[in-house]
């Protein structure tokens, strides 16, 4: 097959390219230039492109750079900024996967005649007994990334390859060392690529939007403190709220954006029985019908969080209400919520947490 492999300059995508080449595919590597601004951990810094290109040269495959920075601004950075204005907690890495890797890049790959797009994500794509493609958790429990690529439907799954999904991270690094790839010991990227360590989220947002001062109030409405930037407050947060120490632990339990108020309360006030999730993309449309009869699922709401038992009620084709089997801390609106099957092996679908 003719495969376009997205190479970030990290070890996973380096080994992904190597695995594809070893399997006899016709492989072309591409590094997407996404962010043109200041960055220190970014996946599109010149040194990361250098790494990707040198690995491609070692593997004797072509390497391209595609400039998708306009799309990245439009689909990832601008919505990230707007979400903070709206009091929503965004997940830019997931939006990048949704709009860049598995939309913009795969669209171009199709246009250029490639049979598949591959990335270095730790996830697997397996065909079940009914012939359905299943987005399956990666072999390395600790590194599984099925959560961040949950938006792949059957058509995209059929066009996608995850060549390192069957390997543990340690095995990936071993392969890279065996092949003498310069990325073998490169640390994993941790943070949002367009937020620099020195400036952080505060500087990034401060350069783009005016911050609103906000009152911090108790649940009964009495004033407890003040914050300088409502936009930087997240549900569940405990620090930086301008409230005196001592006493029971206080958490942000609600962010009232229209009225510029942050509501704090004790841990119990964070608990919820249920959650409405919108904008769901189902891995396989037939899962919606199945869930109407057997509605038990496991729900994961952060990249490496636990999958929690719950039941789902289908509200529409793209919306569900999740009822937890035991009360859970509130999930910040804007976070991605992904449903897995009861044996916790594959993704059923995923969407965005609402305030409900």
């Amino acid at each position: 097959m003719k495969v376009l492999v997205a190479m970030s300059g990290g070890v996973d995508s380096s080994v992904a390219a190597a695995e594809l080449k070893a399997a006899g595919h016709e492989v072309v590597g591409v590094t997407m230039r996404l962010w043109g601004g200041e960055s220190d951990t970014g996946c599109c810094s010149v040194s990361d492109v250098d790494d990707a290109r040198r690995v491609a040269q070692q593997l004797d495959i072509d390497h391209l750079v595609f400039n998708f920075s306009d799309d990245f601004d439009k689909h990832v950075v601008a919505p990230y900024v707007q979400a903070h204005v709206d009091g929503i907690t965004p997940n830019p890495c997931i939006e990048c996967n949704r709009h860049l890797k598995f939309d913009r890049l795969s669209e171009r790959a199709r246009l250029l005649g490639f049979d598949a797009v591959a990335t270095g994500h730790h996830a697997r794509i397996e065909r079940d007994d009914e012939g359905t493609l299943r987005l399956t958790r990666g072999a390395d429990d600790a590194k599984d990334q099925s959560y961040v690529v949950h938006m792949l439907d059957q058509a995209e799954l059929a066009y996608t390859m995850f060549p390192v999904g069957h390997l543990t991270k340690a095995q990936v690094r071993e392969r890279a060392i065996e092949l003498g790839l310069r990325t073998a010991t490169k640390p994993d990227s941790q943070d949002v690529c367009f937020i620099s360590k020195t400036g952080g989220r505060e500087t990034f947002l401060g350069n783009r939007i005016p911050f609103r001062k906000a009152e911090v109030v108790n649940e009964d409405g009495t004033l407890a403190g003040k914050v300088e930037a409502l936009e930087l407050v997240t549900i569940g947060q405990r620090k930086g709220l301008g409230i005196p120490g001592g006493g029971p632990k206080q958490y942000v339990v609600d962010v009232d954006t229209p009225n510029a108020r942050v509501v704090i309360g004790n841990e119990a006030s964070l608990y919820r029985n249920s959650l409405v999730v919108n904008d769901i993309i189902w891995s396989d449309a037939r899962d919606v019908q199945r869930l109407q009869t057997t509605n038990d699922v496991l729900v994961q709401s952060s990249a490496h969080g636990a999958a929690i038992p719950a039941t789902v009620e289908i509200l529409s084709n793209s919306s569900v209400r999740i009822t937890w089997s035991e009360v859970q801390r509130r999930i910040a609106p804007g976070q991605s919520v992904v449903l897995y099957n009861m044996t916790n092996t594959h993704v059923l679908g995923g969407g965005i947490a609402t305030a409900e």
Binding site: T31, R33, C44, S45, V46, V49, R53, D62, L64, V65, F66, N67, S69, R108, L111, L112, G113
Partner: protein, 377 residues
Amino acid sequence: MGTYLDHAASTPMRAEAIEAMTPYLDHMYANPSGSHRFAREARKALDEARDLVAATLGCKPGEVVFTSGGTEGDNHAILGAVRRLGGVAVCPAAEHHAVLQCVEHVNGVVVRVNSVGTVDLEDLQRVLEAATEEQPITVVSVMAVNNEVGSITPMRDVARIVRKFAPNAILHTDAVQAACWLDLREITPLVDALSLSAHKFGGPKGVGVTVIKTGKNLEPLIFGGGQERDRRSGTHNVSGIIATAKALEVTDKTRAQETERVTKLRDRLVDEIRAQVDGVLETVPREHRVPGVAHICFSGLENEALLFLLDQADVYASAASACASGAMEPSHVLEAMGIERSWSNGALRLSLGHTTTDAEIDLAVSAVVSAVNQLRR
């Protein structure tokens, strides 16, 4: 080797240039600044190269400064003028980044360009007239030929305006893309400084020529051994300079016949593409352009994708300039010309040179047509 249509990026070395330089890479290795017989032989070759270059450019040998390339020449003219004389630097918006970024670096003034990509003479005049005694304009840099779209600047008109409205300014021209196609003897007398890059006319990479007219003082960029009359220190790149002079001589002698030959090839290339696909914009009318450049825009497609398919078909072309990562940047030239993004996204530069053949044009036409059809399917 495939079909090479990226001569404006770099053109193959002339065989005569390789032959001329080879002894100086091998047994003629002395430093021409030395005082012994062996050094004097290298010095003689260097002096002869300088005479040859001066004759080809229409200047005095003492006005020829050998550099590391066009970028150094552009930097030297602009930074050297501002550092020595103070004041303000001016250039048009469609200059090569080697000029544009120097002017921006010294907080200079960027002048508009017209729809063919050459300096807007009225805007140039307006900027020169607006200068004050406290902030005089000390250097104006205007490219002779645009590197992306190939448009030819009417340097005579530029010189007339600069001499009239900024008589004390140094007029520099980046003539890097002119050397193959225009008789430089007609340009050099109009300006105070002129920069060339050897690898654009069949010389080696890493060598350039800057003409600095007698009496025009620029602060050097590089200090040290005092070579090139203190204008550019550093041991001479003897072999590179000899090859450069030879390549320039050959280019000069063959220019008339090459212009005729390449114009025909270029026109056929564009005509045949336009006959077979719709939605093609010829960015600059042919009468404003050097023979070597075919710059066309295809509606409804992206040049990154187009270049990939051409590359797969072994046709080597380019679009705009690339950033440090290798990613294609939107063209500042097309933007300055006012070309809409729907066209400029699909821009393609096919540039021809002394090795381009009829057969290459045939291959390029068929590859471009098939790539465009695939991308528009």
